[in-house]
Point group: C2
Chain length 135, copies 2
């Protein structure tokens, strides 16, 4: 009964903390969180706009805007599918790969700091539970 009320609050609090981390993470370069998500997704191979939208769970026009910015920044390239020319394939550039690995280090650092509050055992527990929650 107390639990049912407390958990949502804690989750909201965590959500805000995570968003803060994201912002901190941004410091030093120009990638926003959404841009990072697209980049990470596209890094493993060319993806269509539609698949990106599905992955981020946003509508196609949002992806158009994000990819526009990434393209302007030289981090992705749009290419047309030769068999079906309606389809746009988004590919990460080499610059993106570099940028991502830099960011990953910073991200790791930010999260390490946050997770340092937990014991190894608690981290394991948290991971297990989050797997269930986000599945």
């Amino acid at each position: 009964m107390k639990l049912e009320r407390a958990l949502p609050e804690l989750l909201l609090s965590l959500r805000r903390k995570l968003n803060e981390r994201m912002k901190g993470e941004r410091f030093g370069d120009e990638l926003t969180f959404s841009q990072l998500e697209v980049l990470s997704f596209v890094e493993s191979g060319p993806r269509t706009m539609e698949r990106i939208a599905a992955h981020l769970r946003v509508k196609p026009p949002s992806v158009t805007a994000i990819v526009d910015r990434l393209e302007d920044a030289g981090l992705v390239a749009r290419g047309k599918d030769e068999t079906d020319r309606r389809i746009t394939k988004v590919t990460a550039t080499a610059k993106a790969a570099r940028r991502l690995s830099e960011r990953r280090e910073r991200k790791e650092a930010a999260f390490r700091e946050l997770l340092a509050k937990l014991s190894t055992r608690d981290r394991k527990e948290l991971e297990r539970i989050l797997r269930i929650l986000t599945s």
Copy 2:
């Protein structure tokens, strides 16, 4: 080793899921997440703009914008402090109280759905760990 890498990903995934919940929660009325946070904070008594900003961890101009919208919606009222007239006190209206309790029910429902994936024991564990993480 694997853990250190997986947890950040899971947290990001959770963050997105929570944001989705927030959006779903919004369905039916016009409160955004930030607006809700301000409203909840102000509900327990009049607060200054600065305190609200500190609570949300955003800059004062952001609060001005959010409070503007809430005021337009008739959910809060701005009042001047009589001793120090630089200070604005934001108060929740009766309408806000009604709105909040409606939302709370919906929020509870949304989170219940999410948390239903967990056993009672896991919920307790999660709560304990989140307390550490968000403290």
